[in-house]
């Protein structure tokens, strides 16, 4: 018998279950793109039959980090840039949990960049949503890793001399097996992409364009957007790495020129997830490790039985 009966529980899930009953006043500004992420998750999770207590949402620091204050799942609001290592470990400890990590562009592509690259490389079976508003919002408008070159802010008053980071291309090179970009202004696509990302067995990276109406007023609101799957102007095979790389590069290039391309960029359904790889080499238990601590009949190995080599 499981100690975690919320996992896989078969019942109708109501969308409202993901809204905290005593809802804290949102700290997001009116018109903030972060509402779009929250909304798409509130739609996607019940549609996938997930109940709030089998989901662990792990966030970093920044406006995006407040996501799990308003999404009523199990939540872990961690520290700046560190949502991924916490999320990965929770998934290894209990692979049956649905683990979603989230943070901003500064959080994920800047301070947490090392974790992002290695999580993608290892292909952990988690969903990683990056609220990309091309700015540091909560600290009041400093230049971020995705801010366009020339972007002026209080910390880069003459305009940024740095070329923005390429989130999609970097993720592809690092090894992510599902990569998509969506935008808060495109709720239907966002919901579908979030659903696919959650269902994907492996590291699913969603670069979510979330306009910042307060600190990035000069930037576009990511409209009009183009869905590369819907548009006749674009065609690529999402399973083809080379084609994906090409269109990702174009997408990143044109964003700062005012063209907002979104959609699925790369999907690799063949690659085993990290826990499958780890299991294959004999370093992952068959049963979720967390279950064992609640099993009164579990047998625990003792160091006393390891002493032969020391005698």
């Amino acid at each position: 018998m499981s100690a975690f009966n919320a996992i896989g529980e078969e019942r109708e899930i109501d969308r409202d279950e993901f809204t905290p009953g005593v809802e804290p006043q949102p700290t997001w500004c009116p018109g903030c793109g972060d509402f779009g992420v929250l909304k798409s998750l509130k739609q996607a999770l019940p549609e996938l039959g997930k109940n709030p207590e089998e989901v662990l949402t792990v966030t970093g620091i920044g406006c995006s980090g407040k996501l799990n204050s308003y999404l009523d799942t199990y939540g872990f609001h961690t520290i700046h840039g560190r949502s991924l290592p916490v999320a990965r470990a929770a998934k290894l400890a209990n692979p049956e949990l649905e683990v979603i990590a989230a943070g901003g562009d500064g959080d994920g592509y800047g301070i947490g960049g090392n974790h992002w690259i290695h999580s993608a490389r290892e292909n952990h079976d988690i969903t990683y949503i990056v609220f990309n508003n091309e700015i540091f919002g909560l600290t009041k408008g400093q230049t971020s890793p995705t801010s366009p070159k020339g972007h002026k802010s209080k910390t880069q008053p003459s305009g940024s001399a740095k070329t923005p980071l390429r989130p999609l291309s970097t993720s592809l090179n690092a090894g992510a097996s599902y990569i998509a970009r969506t935008a808060a202004v495109n709720p239907n696509q966002a919901k579908e992409i979030i659903k696919e990302a959650i269902e994907h067995d492996g590291f699913a990276h969603v670069d979510f364009l979330t306009q910042c109406p307060t600190w990035n007023k000069d930037a576009r609101q990511y409209v009009p957007y183009i869905d590369i799957q819907e548009s006749d102007d674009y065609e690529h095979d999402v399973n083809d790495r080379a084609e994906a790389a090409e269109i990702m590069r174009e997408t990143e290039d044109v964003l700062n020129e005012g063209t907002v391309l979104t959609g699925r960029y790369y999907v690799d359904d063949e690659r085993p997830s990290y826990s499958q790889e780890k299991h294959a080499v004999g370093e992952m238990p068959d049963q979720p490790l967390a279950e064992r601590y609640f099993d009164d009949d579990a047998e625990w190995e003792r160091s006393y039985d390891l002493l032969e080599r020391h005698k």
């Binding site: 996992i7 961690t78 929770a90």
Partner: protein
Amino acid sequence: MSDDELIWRIAGGSGDGIDSTSQNFAKALMRSGLNVFTHRHYPSRIRGGHTYVEIRAAEQKVQSRGDGYNFLLALGDSFARNPQEEAYYGNEEIKPLSENLDELREGGVIIYDEGLISEEDVEELDLEERAEENDWHVFPLDLRGLAKDHGREVMRNTAGVGATAALLDMELEHIEDLMSDAMGGDILEANLDILHEAYETVNDEYDFEHDLRAPTGEHDAEQALLSGSNAIAYGAIDAGCRFIAGYPMTPWTDVFTILSQNFPDMGGVSEQVEDEIAAAALAVGASHAGVKAMSGSSGGGFALMSEPLGLAEMTETPVVLVESMRAGPSTGMPTKPEQADLEHVLYTSQGDSQRVVFAPGNIEEAYEQTRLAFDIAWDYQIPAIVIYDQKLSGENQNVDVDFFDREPSPDLGSTLTEDELKEAAHDASGKFKRFNYEDAEDGVAPRSIPGQKGGRYLATGNEHSPVGHIEEDPDNRVFQMERRLEKLEKIREELDEERDSTQTYFGPDEADYGIITWGSSQGAVAEAVDRLNEQGHSVKAISVSDMMPFAETEVTEFLESVDEAMVVEMNATAQFRGLIQKELGRFGDKMTSLLKFNGNPFEPAEIVEGYEVNLADEDRQPDAQVRIEPAAGD
């Protein structure tokens, strides 16, 4: 200093197999009924560089490396890069023979491999003259040639062991058994040949004029030879830890390696990750999801764990971290011991953060206090740190096998089951009051685990309300802070009232003079106290393990009971004495410090000398490379 003890030093280059050879020889001595203690000295490089292991063996218990050594097996450094005197690191080839030769005791025995160490180099050492002066007995043997004739050059260690056994009048039985356990086939056969050949050659060709022989002894119970790192890893296993995340760094890597090798067979998970921030964050994440988890590092890597440590404190996520100190600051001396990270471990991370810190002083304590760290961490939902050092990490000592015959304790402490969650407090919307200060006991509010029905809440590093929402209300802030701070007081009460003391005492109950130490300096202090009392001095010692919450009552009683005290620690700034003064707010004028920070651990004689100089109130520093730091006001 005992006459009937052997301190055998095997010296060579890194990569010469010093470690495995010494490990087997130590086991052979242990199997013959002796108590053994090993000390390992090595450089931070893969091949070459002077390295040695000392094995001290005696009939009675041995607790430190002892003073000097009385048998040297100098293999020569087969990986020496610059065998010239004028090279920056000197002539490395001769170092195994020349380095610390002054520490060889009178009457000592030297074997050196004349197949590798050149006659010219030896001449420059004036070895003959010095041997005469010190009554050393020198045996130049062509170990390399002998090994080559019967097998391969790399087997010259075996030839050295065979020659050692002959000169010490030891039987080969235990050595042969251990070799048979470790290898097989042609390799075993060649090694056995070499062992016998060397043994017989030495017996046939030399008249023994030295008095040194292997001591004899008998054990009452079966023994196991373990390092401090083994003990910490085994303590974790028996505490039910099955998740470890880490990043390699000397000397912490030993614990990480041992658990990584054992966990797959135990259904556990080990993760080597991108950096130490991730390592500690993974341990926190695994613990949050319901697993007993740990991480660890050494000074520089531990510095990166500062933030996840604070997160664990604020979110009340139990976790155990181990910190294996090496000489700092910065990269310092990576393979040398020091006890200079105490303040780093006690105070790192922002805010009024609190954690539990234990500093075991020997191998048994390393096992027990690691278990204790897990118990306390999971009962009180607080990070617990085991701080130790390169010395305890790598030194091997024999322990009664029965010591480990204990029940495991995988219990998750103050964690609720789904049934218990039904009875627990929830807010109006059904959210579990995870951080409920109203019904917390000893500051602890029981927790739920993701996936449990009826247990959802938000864990956050922000200040938070009972259900975990970010909350900056002043009343809530004060309640939550006070509840969390209460835990350390309660832990202190439990340690004082319900558990065996983790402090260790040496010497008579009543004495005029007190020595206070912590961590791995314990053994040398214990032996120094014995010697001083044998010499008619009135000295006792306490070795303190509870750094936080501090062992206030025991240290106060100890200091009140003596006229004067000397705090012995391996660092330059008297960090532990500073802690005592901070915690107790007095005794500053009673405590002198004896400090050592040259990269080598204390020898008992250095502590004896420090005591003598200090007691005589002489205005000088000891002759040994140690420092006396006077008491406040002196």
